[in-house]
Symmetry: C2
Subunit: 355 residues, 2 copies
């Protein structure tokens, strides 16, 4: 019988809460703690913060060092940032404390894409402390990189790769919608792009370098394009209203060049209520090569739940990985962690209640 | 710079030849030798046997022990059998000689499905000699198992799994067509099933146990069904003719039960010229769970080329795997081995000519 795995979740927002709830469902895992950025959450019961009906008898911490010392986690799931700049300090602290790390920060899915130096620093700390760290998520981390890489496994030759993910942002909150320019008139969308308040998707360089690294292609440059998706109808969600003529979201794409030719193209239009204009959501992956491969699914794999699932499902993979910094392409594939037929659910629950 | 990897191919039939030709195309690999079952191929030049325009200056061997001693391979690709009974002796010999093994024998994709004892024996030899062995192929080995397992990675919960592969046998030779009952009147198809000359697909128990093993399900029983695909039109390939009322192939399916309920269903109709009756070929994978997942592609990923690609693309994965017996679900994902931008093609070719 294995020991239960003690998990700490960094972040108590929408994603952190979802992940913490999922950890509670898994017989092999114990939710050992949660760490928030917002100081008003210090000491509040985790159950209340993550949207449960009852308290868990465990306080939220806001100081990571204290949290690590008190809850002694085996693994941390980082769910409260996007950029390497934000992730760096907490990840270094966790690794130095001997805690494995799974991050859903987009830039952590392939950190050398934006900072080879920082990636090397993280790798070194992980190796020196004998722990592993990986970045994951639906995108980057799975749909437009890992799944493409898996499909290349049946190819003897590849000319080009195209991945398209058309998704629906209707269920996302204001911070996500703002980054996609949802609701803005076209001129304000363009101003937002210039100012950096409208960013579109974060993750193209990471996905491209993960694919290229796996199949051994040297990428010369990546061109990214961001266009407003201008709605002809009124679109509305609890968090945003788009008037006709305004932006329903952002059509963001990236093209990577090798030897002067475009070889990887990733296309990711994100908007609210796409169906109001007959836009079908979905994921489509295409490889031009020997043989040609094309698979697709509609609607798209839902991002929020899939990212939470990946973060939790990667726990066994990270615990058994060699020490160091990994990408999703380096480790055995993620597998649904179901609390299978050979696990002892009652004992686990007891352990969880003990805390 | 890495040393070139010396590969021996077991089998000089359609698949063995295809794999050998593919090895020759890869800058990181050297085709070190080939081993045939047919005694009349002893000493014949490999180039002639595998369908090249010119000789390679390397003889085909028929004695595996001699071949291993002379060509000193790092890794062997076994492409001349389907069952564990056939694979066992050559695999044991290769492993005992310190050679890594990749097998496309269907039963090797998950050997414990039919013989846990033999699987354990193979594992022990591999561990004792510090080498790794894995079974692969399009099916079993990829489409109806590994790819499904990867997709479970985005799920928090799974009720059931269905995989369907509708393929076209038109390009296959007589031995494959015979095993699918192609051309037989229905009553002879049924007799062939009873006698074991018509077998349909080999691989359902392997795929099912690979999936179940990955997600932790205990399978109570597997039911397999084989039905003739009766053609209403005349269908013809270079190797078979099907008259109306006769069998164009075999509709083979399998259902796996867990806790009394059907949880994994794999459906694999194989026939020649499916398009003559409007049958669209393709691969479809469905997970009922949280979230529901459904992806599909049409036409099907072509089996012959994909199996050869997987066998070759798994070479780096097997060389860096821990010693022992692996399944496709245990190792990092297969990746197209393209002879990328960082490899030295001319030097490799030279090395290949030296033999």
């Amino acid at each position: 019988m294995h020991d239960l795995i003690r998990v700490i979740v960094l972040g108590t927002g929408q994603m952190g809460s979802r992940i913490a709830r999922l950890v509670l469902e898994k017989p092999a895992l114990v939710l050992a703690g949660a760490c928030a950025k917002r100081s008003d959450r210090e000491g509040v019961d985790i159950g209340r913060v993550i949207g449960l009906d009852s308290d868990l008898g465990l306080p939220v911490y806001t100081d990571l060092t204290a949290a690590i010392e008190i809850v002694r986690p085996h693994v941390a799931i980082q769910a409260n940032c996007s950029t390497l700049a934000e992730t760096k300090q907490p990840i270094a602290k966790l690794l130095q404390s001997g805690v494995h790390v799974i991050s859903i920060a987009e830039e952590m899915s392939y950190p050398s894409a934006t900072s080879p130096q920082l990636a090397e620093e993280i790798r070194r700390i992980a190796v020196s402390r004998g722990v592993a760290v990986v970045g994951t998520g639906i995108n980057p981390g799975f749909m437009l990189d890992l799944l493409i890489i898996v499909l290349t496994g049946v190819c003897t030759d590849i000319q080009s790769i195209t991945g398209t993910r058309v998704n629906d942002l209707s269920f996302y909150g204001p911070s996500v919608l703002k980054r996609q320019g949802v609701g803005l008139p076209p001129e304000e969308f363009r101003e937002g792009l210039a100012k950096g308040t409208v960013v579109g998707h974060v993750g193209f360089p990471q996905s491209i370098h993960m694919i290229a690294g796996a199949i051994g292609w040297e990428i010369e440059r990546i061109e990214e394009h961001r266009e407003p998706i201008i709605s002809t109808v009124r679109r509305k969600t609890p968090f945003a209203t788009v008037e006709p003529g305004c932006c329903a979201g952002c059509l963001h794409s990236a093209v990577a060049y090798r030897r002067g030719a475009p070889v990887i193209k990733l296309i990711h239009p994100q908007q609210i209520r796409p169906h109001l204009e007959g836009v079908e959501t979905g994921d489509t992956l295409e490889i031009k090569g020997t043989p040609d491969i094309r698979i697709s699914g509609s609607p798209e794999v839902p991002g929020g739940i899939a990212t939470a699932a990946l973060a939790v499902n990667m726990i066994p993979r990270v615990l058994s990985a060699p020490p160091g910094l990994h990408s999703m392409a380096d480790l055995p594939v993620p597998v649904a962690m179901l609390g299978g037929d050979r696990e002892l659910v009652p004992q686990t629950r007891q352990e969880h209640r003990r805390g």
